[in-house]
C-alpha cells in the first residue's frame, strides 16, 4: 500500500462526505425502518420515457453525442424554457449535463477564482458548499431561516462585498420546499445587476409546485439573462433520478467556457437518457401532473400531522420536502434524527446537514407511501411527546 503522507490531495481530505449518507448507513439491514430521508420520487419513470429509451438501445443508438447534447433535445429544452419566459438559443446557450449536479460543479468551476465569495442561501442542498470550497472560493453562509426560508434582497445586500462573485438560489428549495416570491426575486435581480454578479438559479424542483404558487425564474426579469445561470433537470419532475440527466441555460460566453470542462469531464450525458428526456418533454406531462397531485396530497397529510403534534412547520410550496422546527424538544437536529431512528425506527435528515441555518430542524420527504407517512408521523409524535416530558 502506498504509505506516502501526501498521497491524497489536501483539499479532498478536508472535504466531508454528504451528511445525509450517515443516516442511510444507519438504515442498512433494518427493513423495519421507515425512511423519510430519501431525496427522490417514489414513482418509476413514466413508461413512455422508458419505452423510448429501449427503442433507441434496440436500434443501436449507443454512441457519444455532441458534447452539448443532442440538438433535438436542446431544441425541446429551449421550447420548454419559454414556459417560464426564458429565451435561450439551443445551439450555444443550452448544455445537456449529467444531472443538474454536474451543472452545479461545472458552473462553480467556470466562474469562481480563488478568494471569490459565493453567497449560498441556507439551508440548502449539500453539494453547494463543498464544491465551492474545492474552487478555493469563500462560502458566505446566508441564513434564510428567519425570513421564511427564502432570501430577501434587503438582507442579501448586507453581505455583498466587492469580492462577491455570485449568489446561489434554489426555489422551490431543497430542504424546505419554500419558494422565493416573485416580487422578492425581482428585487434580488436588481441587486444582481447593480453589483454585477452572477445568479446561479437551481430550478430543479420548478415543476413540483402546489396550490396557487407559480414558479418564476429570476432569469426572466428584464436584462437578467446576462447574469443568470439556470440549472435544471429531469430527475425530480419526470422521476428520472437514475438516468442522470439535466441541463443548464446561460449566456453563450459562459457556456462556451463551461463546455470545455464538461467535455473533459463527462464528454456528454448518456445517449439513451437524452432520448428519454426528449420523450418526457414531448409526451410525459400528463404523468408529471399525476405525480404532482399525489405529492401535494401527501404534503397536506404530513403538514397536518406536524401541526397536530405541535411541531411548527412552514408550509412547503413546492418540491417534496418538509422542514419542521424541532427546537421545542430541546435536542439538536443530529441527536433528534439519531434517537428517532434508533428508538422509533423513522429516518429523517437533520437540518444541520443543509448548513448551520438548518440546525433545529429536520428534513422529511413526503414522496413516500401514505401508510408509511402515517406510521412515521405517529412515531415522531410519540417521540416528540417523550422529549417534552
Amino acid at each position: 500500500m502506498n504509505t506516502r503522507k501526501d498521497r491524497f490531495s489536501e483539499k479532498m481530505l478536508q472535504t466531508q462526505p454528504s451528511p445525509i449518507r450517515k443516516f442511510f448507513d444507519l438504515c442498512i439491514g433494518h427493513d423495519d425502518i421507515i425512511s423519510l430521508g430519501v431525496g427522490e420520487p417514489d414513482f418509476s419513470t413514466p413508461w413512455t420515457i422508458r419505452e423510448e429509451a429501449f427503442y433507441h438501445l434496440e436500434k443501436g443508438h449507443t454512441s457519444y453525442t455532441s458534447n452539448w447534447g443532442l440538438l433535438e433535445l436542446r431544441e425541446e429544452i429551449a421550447k420548454y424554457l419559454t414556459k417560464y419566459n426564458l429565451d435561450y438559443n439551443p445551439t450555444n446557450e443550452i448544455l445537456v449535463t449529467v444531472g443538474a449536479s454536474e451543472g452545479v460543479d461545472a458552473v462553480l468551476r467556470t466562474i469562481l477564482n480563488p478568494g471569490d465569495e459565493l453567497i449560498i442561501c441556507e439551508p440548502c442542498y449539500v453539494s453547494y458548499q463543498p464544491l465551492t470550497t474545492l474552487c478555493d472560493a469563500k462560502v458566505i453562509h446566508f441564513d434564510t431561516s428567519k425570513t421564511g426560508f427564502y432570501p430577501t434582497a434587503e438582507e442579501l445586500e448586507k453581505v455583498i462585498t466587492p469580492k462577491t462573485k455570485a449568489i446561489m438560489l434554489c426555489s422551490p428549495s431543497n430542504p424546505t420546499g419554500r419558494m422565493c416570491p416573485a416580487d422578492e426575486l425581482e428585487k434580488i435581480a436588481e441587486l444582481v445587476k447593480k453589483h454585477q454578479i452572477w445568479c446561479i438559479s437551481d430550478e430543479i424542483y420548478c415543476e413540483l409546485v402546489y396550490d396557487d404558487n407559480e414558479h418564476v425564474s429570476i432569469g426572466s426579469f428584464p436584462g437578467m439573462k446576462d447574469y443568470t445561470i439556470v440549472l435544471n433537470g429531469f430527475s425530480k419532475a419526470f422521476a428520472m433520478t437514475g438516468w442522470r440527466i439535466g441541463f443548464l441555460a446561460a449566456p453563450k460566453e459562459l457556456v462556451s467556457e463551461l463546455h470545455k470542462l464538461h467535455q473533459y469531464n463527462v464528454i456528454c450525458a448518456p445517449i439513451f437518457s437524452q432520448y428519454g428526456a426528449i420523450e418526457g418533454l414531448r409526451n410525459g406531462w400528463a404523468e408529471v401532473e399525476k405525480m404532482r397531485v399525489s405529492y401535494r396530497q401527501r404534503r397536506n397529510l404530513m403538514y397536518k400531522a406536524f401541526n397536530d403534534m405541535g411541531l411548527p412547520v412552514v408550509e412547503p410550496q413546492g418540491a417534496f420536502y418538509m422542514f419542521p422546527d424541532i427546537r421545542s424538544t430541546g435536542l439538536s437536529s443530529d441527536d433528534f434524527a439519531t434517537q428517532l431512528i434508533e428508538k422509533y425506527k423513522v429516518a429523517v435528515v437533520p437540518g444541520s446537514a443543509f448548513g448551520e441555518a438548518g440546525e433545529g430542524f429536520i428534513r422529511c420527504c413526503y414522496a413516500t407511501d401514505i401508510n408509511k407517512i402515517k406510521t412515521a408521523m405517529e412515531n415522531i409524535a410519540e417521540f416528540v411527546k417523550s422529549c417534552r416530558k
Binding site: I20, R21, F24, V38, E40, V126, V293
Partner: protein, 161 residues
C-alpha cells in the same frame, strides 16, 4: 369533489380523516361530499380487487369474452337486448362496440363447459342474436388500471440527494 373521487378510486379504504387532511378540508365536509356522491349514485359500490392468480382455497374460474353480432330492434336499438343479457349473473361486463361485432360480453364460470353451455343455451338463443364468437381469457395482465403480474416495490436506495 373530483379529487376526493380520484383518491377513493385509488384506495377506497382511505379514511375520511386522511382524505380531509390530503385535500385540506374538514372531516365533516369530506363525509358530506362522499355521502352525496353515494346518494347520487356517482359512487356505486366499494369492492376489493382480487388477483385470481393469488387467491387461495378457491376453485379456478374460467373467463371468456363473447363477441355477439345482433340485430337491433326498431324502437330500442341495442338496449333491450343488452338489458336481457347483463341481468345474467354470469355476465361480468357488457359493452356495445363499434367495428366487426356489436356486443362484447365478459363471462365468468366454473369451467369451460359451464361457459360453453351458457353461450349455446342462453346467449345464442336470445332473439336478435345472429352469431357468437367465444374467446377464453388465458391470463390477466392488467385490468381497470391494476397490474396483476408484478409487485410494486420501493426500490430506492438512500443516496445523498
Amino acid at each position: 369533489m373530483e379529487e376526493i373521487l380520484d383518491l377513493l378510486k385509488q384506495n377506497a379504504r382511505l379514511s375520511t380523516q386522511d382524505i380531509a387532511a390530503m385535500t385540506k378540508r374538514t372531516t365533516e365536509e369530506v363525509a358530506a361530499i362522499i355521502a352525496k356522491l353515494e346518494a347520487d349514485g356517482v359512487i356505486l359500490k366499494y369492492t376489493a380487487i382480487v388477483n385470481p392468480a393469488k387467491e387461495v382455497d378457491v376453485k379456478e374460474k374460467v373467463c371468456a369474452e363473447i363477441q355477439l353480432q345482433v340485430t337491433p330492434e326498431r324502437e330500442h336499438g341495442f338496449d333491450a337486448l343488452a338489458d336481457k343479457i347483463y341481468r345474467f349473473p354470469q355476465v361480468r361486463s357488457l359493452y356495445l362496440m363499434s367495428g366487426g361485432y356489436d356486443l362484447k360480453v365478459m363471462i365468468e364460470g366454473e369451467s369451460l363447459q359451464e361457459v360453453a353451455l351458457f353461450v349455446s343455451q342462453k346467449l345464442s338463443t336470445l332473439e336478435g342474436v345472429r352469431s357468437t364468437k367465444t374467446n377464453f381469457v388465458l391470463k390477466t395482465y392488467k385490468e381497470n388500471d391494476i397490474v396483476y403480474v408484478e409487485d410494486e416495490r420501493d426500490n430506492r436506495e438512500g443516496v445523498t440527494a
